[in-house]
């Protein structure tokens, strides 16, 4: 007899890139269980405030509960403070929420992204128990290792011999990254939902990935 295992990885990848006062967030729409696909149309990203988003990979039920909880905490913050929480405040809030479950963690790997009070786009990456750090770009999920190498190369100029700095379109970069992951990661595919967040507004788009 095998003991009940409460954890299950539903796969998928989320990516976020911050450039100037803009941040681009992408998440694939596939949920898997083992070698099976449970959905090709599932959204992994939740909008928490007018400029801040959370993108989560890992176990879907824990991610859904975490997103619900954060939405409630943001609503309470708005009641108590009379305004939305800043990205900085949200980043700590997510940290303590995750750590409160230190001894039965949410099986979630999060990227918290948005525009902070200083007008800069930022990405915060988390582990399952709340350790976090501010990043210029981040990836979580089954395609993390594949995508981070590309992002390092394109955003930081690692592993290349030329003088390089990123001046392209971050949305195009995120699309290329997802296409690359979908080629080799069986858990990433179907479609990608992308949010292009800037002080001018939020532009949501979708594009297709391989369905195999």
């Amino acid at each position: 007899m095998s003991k009940f295992n409460p954890y299950n990885d539903n796969g998928g990848t989320v990516v976020a890139v911050a450039v100037g006062s803009r941040v681009v967030i992408g998440g694939d729409t596939r949920i898997s269980n083992g070698y099976n696909i449970l959905s090709r149309n599932y959204n992994k990203v939740t909008q928490l405030t007018s400029t801040n988003f959370i993108a989560t990979s890992g176990q879907v039920t824990d991610a859904q509960t975490l997103h619900k909880l954060l939405l409630a905490k943001v609503a309470l913050y708005k009641h108590q403070h009379g305004h939305e929480p800043s990205l900085k405040a949200l980043s700590k809030l997510l940290c303590v929420t995750l750590y409160s479950r230190r001894f039965f963690p949410y099986y979630t790997f999060n990227l918290l992204c948005g525009i902070d009070d200083d007008g800069q786009g930022k990405v915060f990456g988390y582990d399952a128990i709340g350790s976090f750090d501010e990043l210029k770009y981040g990836a979580q999920g089954s395609g993390q290792q594949l995508s981070i190498s590309i992002l390092d190369n394109q955003m930081k100029g690692t592993n290349r011999n030329d003088d390089y700095s990123f001046n392209g379109d971050p949305v195009g970069l995120v699309k290329d990254v997802f296409n690359a992951i979908a080629e080799r990661d069986i858990y990433t595919g179907d479609h990608v939902l992308i949010w292009d967040v800037s002080p001018q507004g939020i532009n949501q788009s979708a594009f297709n990935l391989r369905s195999d």
Binding site: K68, L69, A72, A75, L76, H79
Partner: protein, 244 residues
């Protein structure tokens, strides 16, 4: 009200079948400043006259958002009111977290009344010293409720509580039958007129001493800005004398 025996605590009946502590608590509301609530088929509005403890002080806020579809204002012991606001917010948020939908305003008001009832049947507690006006939206449209320390709640077309509320009530009684199909702006004007009719001549009416909030089928709960309130007051000041 004159002092009487049998009024020492909440758990002692008088021979006439009255609980004096509850009745005294209702008196506390009459000491508080005015609150007005009214509704049409599409909107419900709360308006309050705020007080400042002295000329140096800010006006005290009495109108609060409970959820995107519910708002609250109160007259009486404002500290009790703020705690009630905190409780209602928590209950509404928990319901939304568990059920994924907005709580029915009548159920929320009922929960508050249940809490209030407990405070009328324990020797160690006192009743709430505050009456609340709650506006809320459900699938049938907007509603206006009043709660009071006696743990009852009532639904209204239009209501006023607090100091000198009789003038406002008289104004509302004269006009409420026309409210049903009014536009948002016309309804706001009625609310502010009702507040004006109860204000004494030496009270300054401006965008900070008068608060107005609205909720509707297409409008999540929101406050009118102090500029919008000032504009309404100015508009009324230039119009004919308020008929009471």
């Amino acid at each position: 009200m004159l002092k009487s025996p049998y009024d020492t605590d909440c758990i002692t009946w008088s021979p006439q079948g009255r609980l004096f502590q509850i009745e005294y608590a209702m008196e506390a509301i009459k000491q508080g400043s005015l609150c007005v609530g009214l509704k049409s088929n599409d909107y419900a509005i709360l308006a309050t006259l705020n007080r400042a403890p002295s000329k140096l002080a800010e006006y005290q806020q009495k109108l609060y958002e409970i959820d995107e579809h519910i708002g609250l204002c109160f007259s009486g012991l404002t500290a009790d009111g703020r705690l009630i606001c905190k409780y209602l917010r928590t209950e509404a948020l928990n319901y939304k977290y568990t059920h994924g939908t907005n709580i029915n305003p009548q159920r929320l008001v009922g929960k508050l009344s249940d809490k209030a009832q407990i405070k009328t049947q324990r020797h160690s507690k006192r009743p709430y010293g505050v009456g609340c006006l709650v506006i809320g939206l459900d699938e049938n449209g907007p509603h206006v409720y009043e709660t009071s320390p006696d743990a009852n709640f009532y639904e209204y077309y239009a209501v006023a509580i607090g100091a000198r509320c009789q003038s406002a009530k008289t104004y509302l009684e004269k006009n409420y039958e026309t409210f049903a199909n009014l536009s948002k702006d016309e309804l706001i004007i009625h609310a502010v007129k009702a507040v004006k009719s109860s204000a004494q001549s030496d009270v300054e009416l401006n965008g900070r001493s008068v608060s107005v909030a609205i909720v509707g089928r297409d409008t999540p709960f929101k406050f009118l800005t102090s500029e919008e309130v000032e504009a309404t007051l100015l508009h009324l000041g230039q119009a004919m004398e308020v008929e009471v």
